[in-house]
């Protein structure tokens, strides 16, 4: 394949990632604001966003640290939120597994909700793309999204201190998570997983060290997997 088609795949990726800037910019800014409110220095906030580059896990860790949860459990809970990245990684492997190792390492770092969603949709629509073209598309979809994550974390951290209490920013995290989860509830199994996790989480709030989150998350995953199996067996072949 010529380099010009690889280049056109990159730009196709840029166009498919572009709409997500509307979501990523406010979300990153919110992290900057909440991190500053929680007492983090500008450097700490920026390193956090650059090293971890995963909104939901960053918010989870920030919330739990403020509740004085032990470090190990902060890490386990935040990584549990990020387990879906392993799923994305698994799903990208058949398409990108043949790329050079250094490219796969960079791809791994930039595997986020948006780049995954764009790329898998493209690979399924155009299975004949070469590996370099698929890699080019992936980086194209990352280009408009990830730099904004850093920039708007900075903006949020800088303006954060000027935001008054009456804005009720304490509730920004629940609203953002609920808004992220609801469109993910595509099947009955997803709904069962979410409802099970909610009920168990509410019943387990008494558990020490926020262990309720891990118990409820595991129970929700098992309930979702069970429901999926049950539906597959009932579905007419």
């Amino acid at each position: 394949m010529s380099s010009s088609t690889t280049k056109s795949e990159f730009w196709r990726g840029v166009r498919s990632g572009a709409p997500f800037t509307l979501v990523v910019a406010p979300f990153a800014m919110l992290f900057g604001v909440l991190a500053t409110e929680a007492g983090l220095q500008l450097t700490e906030t920026m390193v956090f966003s650059i090293l971890v580059i995963a909104g939901a896990a960053q918010f989870t860790a920030l919330q739990l640290m403020q509740e004085n949860v032990p470090t190990v459990l902060v890490l386990v809970s935040a990584l549990a939120v990020n387990l879906r990245m392993a799923m994305y990684s698994a799903s990208l492997t058949p398409h990108l597994g043949a790329a050079p190792l250094w490219q796969r390492a960079v791809i791994a770092y930039f595997t986020v909700d948006q780049s995954y969603a764009c790329s898998v949709a493209r690979y399924e629509a155009a299975p004949d793309l070469t590996v370099p073209q698929k890699v080019a598309f992936f980086f194209g979809s990352v280009a408009p999204v990830c730099p904004l994550w850093y920039v708007f974390t900075y903006v949020g951290a800088v303006v954060g201190e000027t935001i008054p209490d009456s804005f009720a920013l304490d509730f920004a995290l629940p609203i953002t998570f609920l808004a992220m989860i609801t469109p993910m509830l595509r099947t009955a199994a997803h709904v069962v997983a979410a409802l099970t996790a909610i009920v168990i989480a509410l019943l387990c709030t008494g558990l020490p060290y926020n262990l309720g989150l891990i118990v409820a998350g595991t129970a929700g995953m098992m309930a979702g997997a069970r429901t999926e199996l049950w539906q597959m067996r009932r579905a007419p072949q």
Partner: protein, 117 residues
């Protein structure tokens, strides 16, 4: 969040570095290490539901017993949560859903004299 406990600097850096390495590990585990080998179906089936299980479990107690009101259920925050989910179900759009939730929160807070814009 103003009355939240101060985060310990050591804990913060351990969490930042640990979460950075751990997140990279999760993203690299299949793309980088598994290569062309297949992943067991049962594992994939559980991984599919991690986000929709863990995130609601995290949010549910924060909605019912908000820290800002000292753990007492709050009309504005409950209404905002409902509006967010409802907008998400109807519009399937993250940004629209956030706007619906934040708008509801501020309107109800303002109506009940608890703050707002």
């Amino acid at each position: 969040m103003t009355d939240a406990a101060q985060i310990d600097t050591t804990q913060l850096w351990v969490v930042i570095v640990g979460l950075g390495l751990g997140s990279f590990g999760l993203r690299f585990v299949f793309t980088g290490l598994i290569g062309d080998r297949t992943i067991p179906e049962w594992l994939l089936r559980h991984l599919r539901y991690t986000a929709v299980a863990v995130l609601p479990a995290l949010v549910a107690p924060l909605v019912l017993w908000p820290a800002a009101t000292g753990g007492t259920p709050d009309l504005a925050r409950g209404a905002a949560a409902c509006a967010t989910v409802l907008a998400g179900l109807l519009l399937r759009n993250v940004l629209a859903s956030i706007i619906a939730g934040a708008g509801t929160l501020w309107i109800v807070l303002w109506l009940t004299g608890g703050g707002g814009l």
